[in-house]
Symmetry: C2
């Protein structure tokens, strides 16, 4: 039931109305791994520079995350800086230094190739295709992406979408990819390319699971204060895949429950900067929040 | 179980990406009545000018809506014109001619004063207080309002809020009224004034029911195409109050179900201009959609 994730590892400088952190660990692979590790063993593939402090990922090793796929390259770690608006609905990228991430060419370690669950975090779709070529017969492959690849690598991205079972996008991204403003029509365009399910993330408005058979709506867990939205999407994906890896099936009920787990894990993540909250909590905290949440969304 | 509604009756000129209608019947009292009449007898109080064509409300009389509270004044009917943005999330008011509505001073006909359910649609809070003074002992009073009164009639509006049991607002309005960006903290500010429940309408993102004991989230019913959002809030309120009038209790389950009915009735309303769709459908259509919808929002 192990999960392979291939994505970025970054040192983020983030400003929100609640404060600021400098060179704080982040990136899609780290957020995803911190989230998914509550549910299943994780195999992480990524690249860092010689300046990376491995002390910050020690807690991941204690939580069944295998780091042999984490390669150290000469140079500096990927750095990103951003500032969120007062209501947290907009963020401005202040700088992006790809550094060692610029030439990231993911080599999947031999033991990782039999991972049953695969999360293609937000990287160049050409690289996502290379990852798919290296894995054997996963039970489930899930794709995330971003606007940058939608406009710049459309052909490759379409090819990845044809080859995965679940696509996770936010509302802006699916509108941009399809050119369709209506989310349900947009999702059906994606389903027509092959995937079994599309999950549309809507930030503070939750997420929708869309399959050929129908929809499932999940609101965002209500929080009195969001400190830092960075990593919400990747921690959502970690909870989502993590739960499915535990269920070992793709039945409708499991998928719906996975969306709920995703929303709850993401809700913890945004309660503090970086993945601090995901370090503090344990699986019982997540299960308690899921139970409490279910009471808010069912008759 | 009859429902009293006091609100506006208008002739709307509306442009949306789907087309345009001129002098089409609308206004909060009409939208609400068209929606609530599927559930319970409605007593409508409003004012029109001598130019109003009563033919357009004939269908309401066939549906247990009493129109003796509809007064005809010398002059023209209230007219409003607006244009929606391409994605329907914004609308621009092009003109507002209050006409006879400017001096609206609702007199509640004697038989209406014992209405068990009262909807104070979006009118001057001073008039809403006058309505409350005229009704006897309703089982449930529900308030709607808008930004115009929040900024211009704050003291009176606060007084109405203290006197009703349920406040229905959209996300912008509650943020403006409370000065609080976080919706849950904002809702608790309102609850502290006295109401038992706050319903926050979030347009395409559904609605949230907030009581002291907890939250209930209801997404919007997924539509492939929205033709005209005008009246969505009032038809939501009609489905919401209508269901509660049928339940004859304010238990948590009834309130949650009422939110679901509200969302479903509103979803029909926005499928065409004016309240055309609410004329076409029957109660069985609503119940079918509610059943289908419940499958999308529960595990």
């Amino acid at each position: 039931m192990s999960i392979l994730v291939v994505g970025s590892i970054a040192l983020d400088t983030v400003e929100t109305p609640s404060g600021k952190v400098v060179d704080s660990p982040g990136g899609s692979a780290l957020y995803f791994s911190a989230a998914a590790s509550f549910f299943a063993p994780v195999n992480m593939v990524g690249v860092v520079g010689e300046d990376f402090d491995f002390g910050v990922v020690n807690f991941l090793q204690d939580r069944q995350v295998d780091l042999q796929g984490l390669s150290v390259q000469a140079g500096k770690t990927f750095r990103w800086g951003g500032r969120y608006s007062k209501n947290l609905n907009f963020r401005k990228t202040l700088f992006t230094y790809l550094n060692v991430f610029e030439n990231f060419d993911p080599a999947i370690p031999e033991p990782y190739r039999r991972s049953e669950y695969v999360f293609l975090a937000n990287i160049d779709p050409e690289l996502q295709l290379k990852v798919l070529d290296q894995v054997e017969t996963p039970r489930l492959t899930v794709l995330d992406t971003m606007n940058f690849w939608i406009s710049g690598r459309r052909t490759a991205l379409e090819e990845v979408i044809r080859r995965v079972q679940v696509v996770i996008l936010n509302d802006e991204e699916i509108r941009e990819f399809t050119g369709e403003n209506n989310l349900y029509r947009a999702a059906r365009q994606l389903l027509a390319l092959g995937p079994e399910a599309v999950v549309i993330k809507k930030g503070e408005h939750g997420a929708v699971l869309i399959r050929r058979e129908g929809y499932f709506f999940c609101p965002a867990y209500p929080l009195d204060q969001v400190v830092d939205p960075t990593g919400a999407g990747d921690s959502f994906a970690g909870g989502f895949l993590g739960h499915l890896a535990q269920c070992r099936n793709l039945e409708e009920r499991s998928m719906r429950q996975a969306v709920i787990y995703g929303c709850c894990v993401a809700s913890f993540n945004v309660e503090d900067f970086s993945f601090r909250r995901l370090k503090e909590i344990d699986r019982a905290d997540i299960d308690r929040r899921v139970q409490e949440f279910q009471k808010m969304i069912t008759l």
